[in-house]
Subunit: 143 residues, 2 copies
Amino acid sequence: MDKNELFNKLVSFTSSVHRVTNELTKNTKSNSISQVQYNILEFIAVSQPVTPSEINDCLSMSMSNTSRELSKLSEKKLIKKVNDSKDRRKQYIHLSKDGEVIMKEAFATIETRFLNRIQHASKEDLEEIERAIDTLQEKLFHP
Amino acid sequence: MDKNELFNKLVSFTSSVHRVTNELTKNTKSNSISQVQYNILEFIAVSQPVTPSEINDCLSMSMSNTSRELSKLSEKKLIKKVNDSKDRRKQYIHLSKDGEVIMKEAFATIETRFLNRIQHASKEDLEEIERAIDTLQEKLFHP
DNA sequence: CAATTTAGTTATCAAATGATAATTAAGAGG
DNA sequence: CCTCTTAATTATCATTTGATAACTAAATTG
């Protein structure tokens, strides 16, 4: 087992994942929000609840900009801020009802494109794909 | 086989891939270039050769900005532009020697972090990971 | 050949973003 | 209690970026 070769495979694999993710999520955002705001909502939707610190860390943005954009999303009633009951410096950000609606629509578009992409896959292929995802999730990406 | 469930797995999987990619590539860029310039060099390194159009498409940036940043990278002697011999409107961007050096260093850092991440995986685990990557690359991400 | 489209460059301006610093509030450690 | 650190907000300013338009050059279409 050549770990070096495995690393090269990982590089080209992650590059493919990013490319396909781009294709699937292109132009899915509603017109009422900016691209960055959509990225934030998507991150919240997948990782709910999140703190502002996690957002600027995971989306590689500055704390000042995160704070600004969260305020705008709050004004638009797309997110809710909840204080941590133990550590009262922390906030947990959730999607609001309206935020959930926007993200449900976006994910519906993404899912349609995904189903289109795997429409010719056989039952066996799909099962193999599912097992492969489980394997990588468990052994490589989750910890 | 529930395709809906498979989609949900894909969403959480791609989210993990992005998170781990972030961890592995954080602060790997040399101080002489901006983050965007690093992203461009990384994309070129993985997909060489690429056209300016592919760069603005895959990195979701405007054509004007792509052109500006490529000029800067050219001034810094990190890339080379080669005209397509058939379609002379097109350019192919390659890394220069200096660009290769910068990216080799960056990937060395990333590889060290990756090896650290899989240090406790058994031989069997690594083989399973490799097969899973091959499967997803072939059946889900490559086409 | 003429008209249209495509690839890319450049200049300009407005908007988004990052860096910084000052500030508030609260947890952690001595 | 005092100091240090962490989480977050806000204001200010410089830089980066996107949008637009004008432009060159070359391919495509008809």
